[in-house]
Assembly symmetry: C2
Homo-oligomer: 236 residues x 2
DNA sequence: CTGGCTGGTTGGTATAGACCAGAAGTTTGC
DNA sequence: GCAAACTTCTGGTCTATACCAACCAGCCAG
C-alpha cells in the first residue's frame, strides 16, 4: 500500500497539528521549516497543506502563513436571526466592518427581485468576523423605498432588525441559492486570503408578505468557516 | 498591473474553452500540449487549470484528463422530489447505480436520529449520474421497522417514493447539514476523480409527523455539479 | 469475434532551485 | 517618544525535469 507521499504527509501533519495546536497558538511553522522537518520540498509539502485546506482543517492568510481553522460556524440561511446573535449564541465573538455605502443599480439584484434593470438600490458592503477572523464579505442591495434614509443611519448593525423595527418590513418570501466558488481577487483581498481560495457563495432575494421586493444580497464565505444547517418541519 | 502568469493563463484558457467547447466534445487537450501552446511548464499550467476547477468551469476525471463542466444541477435538499424527477425536469438524464445493500449499524445515523448506538439499519449505497457523469455517491440508513423488506425489493428507484407509497411514511421533519469537504479516497474512487477533489457533503435526518425516526442519509457531491436552491415562504 | 497482451499517452507525483513582493520586526533618525 | 527606513522572513510564483501508474487503443492469439 504505497500511498502517495503527500498523503502520508497529510496524515503526519494532521497529528502534528492535533498535538501542537495550543503551543503554536494556531499558526503553523514556516513552510520551509516543515519541508525540512519532513525531508521533502516545499512543492510537495504545499500539496499536503492544500489537502488539509480542502478539508477545512487549516487555512492561510495571504502571505502570512498557515493557521489552524477554528470550528465551523453553524448557520441557517433561511432564518433571519442577526449575525451578531447567532455568533454569540455559539460562544464566538462577532464583528462587522462596513466597507461601502452608496446608491447604485445592480443587474443581478434587479433581476432576482423582478425590477427594471436600471433600478437604483441602497448598496451596503460589509465584512464580518468571527473571533477576529474575517470569514465573509457581503453586499446587500435594498430597495430605497423600503428604507429611505438607510445610508445615513447604517453603522454595522443587523439590517433585517432595522428593516423590521424602523420601517416595519416583515421578510416573508425568500429565494436562496448556494454554490461553491473560487473567491474573486476582490473578495479574496478583502478577506486577506490568496486569490482563488475556495469559497461559498450564498445569494438571497427577499420579498415581503405581499410579494413586494425588499432586498437582495450576496454573501461570500470562506469555505471552511461554516456549516449550513436547516431545520424544517411539516411536509414540503 | 503584472498579474501572476497563471492568472493570465486562466483567462486565456477560459476564452479558449468558450471557443472550442463544442469542437473538443468537452475534453481539453493534454496538459503537455496546452503547456507547450502557452510556452510554460505543466506545473504552472496545472495551477491555472486548478483555478478553473475551483470555479467549477472544468473538472478532471482521474487520470483521464480535463473536461468542461456542464451546467450545475439545481437542487433543493428540503424537498423530497425524487432525483430522477428533478433531473429530468431540468432536461438532463438521470441514472442510478446501487453499490451496496446490507443491514448494519452506523453511529452517525443512530446519533442523528436519537437511537441507540447499536441500532441496526438497512443501508443502501448508491452512485448517481447526470448525463452519464457520476456526480454524487450517497449512503442511506433506513430504520428497518419502517421498511422491513426494503433490501429485497430495492433496485435504484426513489427511496422516498417507496417509503410513501409502499409503507405509508410521510416525511415531515428534516434536519439538514451541508459542509464543504475534500472527498475521501473511497468517495473519490467511486466518483472516478482524484483523491482530495473538492466536494459538498449533505447530511439529512428525517422523522415523520410523530417525530418517529425514519431515515438518515449522507450525500457526497462533486462541488461543481450542483447549485443549491431553497424557496421559502412565510416568516421564519 | 473475443479476450488478453502491449506499448504509447497522459495525468499524478516528486525533486531542486530560484526570484519576487508583501508582512513583520528592528533599527535609525528626528 | 514616535515615525520612517531598512532588513529579514515568508508565502506566492515559476522553471526544468523526471519517473510512475493508470488508461486506452491497437495488435495478436485463440
Amino acid at each position: 500500500m504505497s500511498d502517495a507521499y503527500y498523503l502520508q504527509l497529510t496524515e503526519q501533519l494532521r497529528s502534528l497539528i492535533d498535538i501542537n495546536a495550543t503551543q503554536w497558538e494556531g499558526k503553523l511553522p514556516a513552510e520551509r521549516v516543515l519541508a525540512e522537518r519532513f525531508a521533502t520540498t516545499r512543492v510537495t509539502l504545499r500539496q499536503a497543506l492544500a489537502q488539509l485546506e480542502g478539508e477545512g482543517l487549516i487555512h492561510r492568510s495571504n502571505r502570512r502563513g498557515w493557521f489552524i481553522s477554528p470550528a465551523r460556524l453553524v448557520y441557517d440561511p433561511t432564518r433571519d436571526a442577526g449575525f451578531n446573535d447567532y455568533v454569540r449564541a455559539q460562544g464566538r465573538r462577532p464583528r462587522t466592518a462596513v466597507l461601502k455605502l452608496e446608491t447604485c443599480s445592480h443587474l443581478p439584484a434587479a433581476r432576482a427581485l423582478g425590477l427594471p434593470d436600471d433600478q437604483p438600490f441602497h448598496h451596503i458592503r460589509r465584512r464580518r468576523y468571527v473571533d477576529d477572523r474575517a470569514v465573509l464579505v457581503e453586499s446587500l442591495w435594498v430597495v430605497p423605498n423600503c428604507a429611505p434614509e438607510l445610508l445615513d443611519i447604517y453603522a454595522g448593525q443587523s439590517l433585517w432588525g432595522l428593516l423590521r423595527e424602523r420601517w416595519g418590513h416583515y421578510l416573508a418570501n425568500r429565494s436562496i441559492r448556494m454554490v461553491s466558488e473560487a473567491l474573486s481577487p476582490r473578495d479574496a483581498e478583502e478577506l486577506l486570503v490568496a486569490p482563488g481560495t475556495a469559497g461559498l457563495n450564498i445569494n438571497r432575494a427577499i420579498l415581503d408578505d405581499q410579494q413586494r421586493p425588499i432586498e437582495y444580497d450576496e454573501e461570500h464565505w470562506l469555505h471552511d468557516s461554516l456549516c449550513i444547517s436547516v431545520e424544517l418541519s411539516g411536509q414540503q
